[in-house]
Symmetry: C2
Subunit: 328 residues, 2 copies
C-alpha cells in the first residue's frame, strides 16, 4: 500500500516535471543524488520522454574559460528562443564536495531566466558515481523539455572525459599560451573534438595556437571502433573571446553544422547513451550491493587487511555468495 | 588438471617475482592489464608479501613538473640505497591509450638501473578500471620488495584523485604563475596534501605562490571523517627547482618527517588500502558480469534504446536474474 502511494506520488511529480516545473525538477535532482526510492521511481516515469534534447559537451584545459564560453552560448541560444539546461561537473575537492564558486557566480546572470537551468555536480568519490549522476541529471533536463543540454567538464580525468564523450557535439575549448605538458594533454582530448574553440583569441600567440591545432588535427588518428561518431568533415576551429561574446555566433553556427552533418548518426548516439545509462544503473546497483556485502563481512575485510587472505580470492568467495552461480 | 598446472605456474612466477625478477614483474603487470587468469592467480600468491612498501602519492596541476620532481626523487632515494617503483597514470587520450612521451623519455635515465621500475598506466575507459589496475600494480611492486612506491598522477579528475588519496604521504606539486581557475582547482587538491612542493621556484612569483598557499592552508578545513589521515602538524611547503635537483633533499626530508609523525596511522592506511583493493576487485568482477549480461540481452538493451522500457527498471530486472534474491 505504501508502495502504491509512493508510485502515485512519483507519477504526480513526473507529470509536474514534464510540464516544466523548475522547482520540482531541482528537487528531483537533489533527491537523485541522495538515491531516494521516490526519485528513482520518478526517473522511471520520465524515461519515455527523454532522447529529444540536443546534447553539447564542452571540455578543455583548466583555465581555458569553459564556463565563460558556456555562459555566452546560453545567452546566444536564449536569444534564439531555445531553452537551455546545463550540467557542470566540478573537478574541485573530492573531500569538501565544494564547487568552484567563481564559475557558478558568473552563471548567476541567468538565475531569473526560467528558460535556463544550471546544475553543478560535485564528484562524489564513489566509482562510477560521476557518470551515473550525470546521465540521470541529463535525463531529467531532457524530459523537462530543454531544447539544448550542455555538459561542461574539465578535460582531464577518465570519468570526466567519459561523461562528455557521449554528447551529440563535443566542443573542446583551448587557449593560447599554455605550456608543453598541457599541450600534450590537449592532444589527448583533441581526439574527441567535433568543434574546437580557441578562446581568449585576442591574446598573443592565438595564430600560433590555431596553426598548432591544425597540425595536430592532421596527425589525429581515430579508430572508427573507438569513435564511431567522428565527424566525416573537417573539425572547425573557431576563435572566441567569450568574455566579450565575440565568436560565439560563429561557434554556435559550427555546432549547428556539425549537428546537421552528423544527423544520420544521431540515432546511434542516442542508442549508445541509453545503453550507457543502463550499464551505469547496473553498476550503481552493484556498488550498493558490494558496499552492503563489505559491511556484512567485517571479519573477512579484517583478514584481508591482516594479509591472512587475499582480496582477489575473497572477492570471488563473496560474489559466489551473492550470485546464483553465474560463473562467479 | 589444467587448473592445477596453472596453479603451479602461478606459484613459480610468484616466487620469481618475489625474488625480484624485473622481467617477469613487467610481464605480470602487462598480463594483469589483460586480466588473464594466470596473472590473477599470481596476484593471489603475492598478496601476503604486500603492505611493506612506503607509498608516496605525487599529484598537481598539469604543467607543474610532477614528472621532473618524481625523477629527482628517484635519483635521491637511489643514492640513499633505496629501491623505487613508480606507477605513472597518464591523463592522456582515453581513445588512443597513448602516453605522454616526453615524461616517459625523461625517466629513461633510470632505464638501466635495476633498483628502479617505472610503469605507465593509460586510462582504460572502463569504470573503476583506473583504480583497480593501480592497486594491483602497486601490490606487485610492493611484493617485489621496492622500498618506496611512487604513484604519480595529474590532480584533476575523480578517479585520479582517488588513486593518490590512499598513499602514505601525499605530495602536491604546484608552480608559480598559474591562472585563477587553475588556482581554484589547486584549492581542491590542496586538501589531500601532506607536503606541498612549489616547483620552478626560481620563477617570478614564487614568493607570492608560497604566501597564497599559506593563506589557503589556514583556510583549509578537513573533516576528520573525510581524511582520517590528515597530518596533525603543519603542512610543510618546500621550494624546488626539480630540473636542477634543487630542494629535492629538503622535499625528501619533509616526506620523511610526515612519515615519522604519522607512523601511528600507517597501519590504518594499509588497512584502508586493503579494503579498497577488495572493493575494487569486487567492482571489477561486477563490471565483467554486467557487460556479459548486456551482451546476452541485446533485445532488452534495444528496447531501452527505443524508450519502450526504462533503464532503471530493466537494471532491477537483470539484477534479479543475476542475484539470488539479495534484495535486488
Amino acid at each position: 500500500m505504501a508502495e502504491s502511494s509512493l508510485m502515485d506520488r512519483a507519477a504526480q511529480i513526473a507529470q509536474s516535471v514534464l510540464a516544466g516545473d523548475l522547482r520540482l525538477g531541482a528537487r528531483l535532482i537533489r533527491d537523485l543524488d541522495d538515491q531516494t526510492k521516490l526519485a528513482e521511481l520518478v526517473l522511471t516515469q520520465l524515461w519515455p520522454h527523454t532522447g529529444r534534447a540536443f546534447l553539447i559537451g564542452v571540455t578543455g584545459n583548466p583555465g581555458a574559460g569553459k564556463s565563460t564560453v558556456v555562459d555566452s552560448l546560453i545567452a546566444y541560444y536564449r536569444k534564439a528562443g531555445k531553452r537551455v539546461g546545463v550540467v557542470a561537473i566540478d573537478p574541485s575537492s573530492p573531500f569538501s564536495g565544494g564547487a568552484i564558486l567563481g564559475d557558478r557566480i558568473r552563471m548567476q546572470r541567468h538565475a531569473l531566466d526560467e528558460g535556463v537551468f544550471i546544475r553543478s555536480l560535485a564528484s562524489r568519490g564513489h566509482l562510477g558515481g560521476l557518470s551515473r549522476s550525470t546521465g540521470e541529471i541529463v535525463a531529467v533536463l531532457d524530459a523537462m523539455g530543454f531544447d539544448i543540454v550542455i555538459i561542461e567538464t574539465v578535460g582531464v580525468g577518465q570519468g570526466e572525459v567519459d561523461v562528455v564523450a557521449l554528447a551529440d557535439t563535443k566542443v573542446v575549448v583551448t587557449v593560447p599560451g599554455l605550456g608543453d605538458e598541457v599541450q600534450a594533454i590537449k592532444a589527448g582530448i583533441l581526439e574527441i573534438a567535433d568543434v574546437l574553440a580557441v578562446n581568449k583569441a585576442d591574446r598573443e600567440g592565438a595564430d600560433r595556437t590555431v596553426r598548432d591545432l591544425l597540425t595536430m588535427l592532421e596527425l589525429r588518428h581515430i579508430e572508427p571502433s573507438q569513435n564511431p561518431d567522428a565527424p566525416s568533415s573537417e573539425v572547425e576551429i573557431i576563435r572566441t573571446v567569450a568574455v566579450r561574446g565575440e565568436g560565439i555566433a560563429e561557434l554556435a553556427a559550427a555546432i549547428a553544422r556539425h549537428q546537421e552533418q552528423t544527423a544520420h548518426l544521431a540515432a546511434g548516439r542516442r542508442a549508445r547513451r541509453a545503453r550507457r545509462e543502463l550499464r551505469d544503473a547496473l553498476l550503481g546497483r552493484c556498488a550498493q550491493l558490494v558496499d552492503g556485502l563489505l559491511s556484512q563481512h567485517a571479519d573477512l575485510v579484517d583478514r584481508v587487511q591482516r594479509r591472512q587472505v587475499d582480496p582477489y580470492s575473497v572477492s570471488e568467495q563473496l560474489l559466489t555468495e551473492l550470485f546464483r552461480g553465474t560463473g562467479a
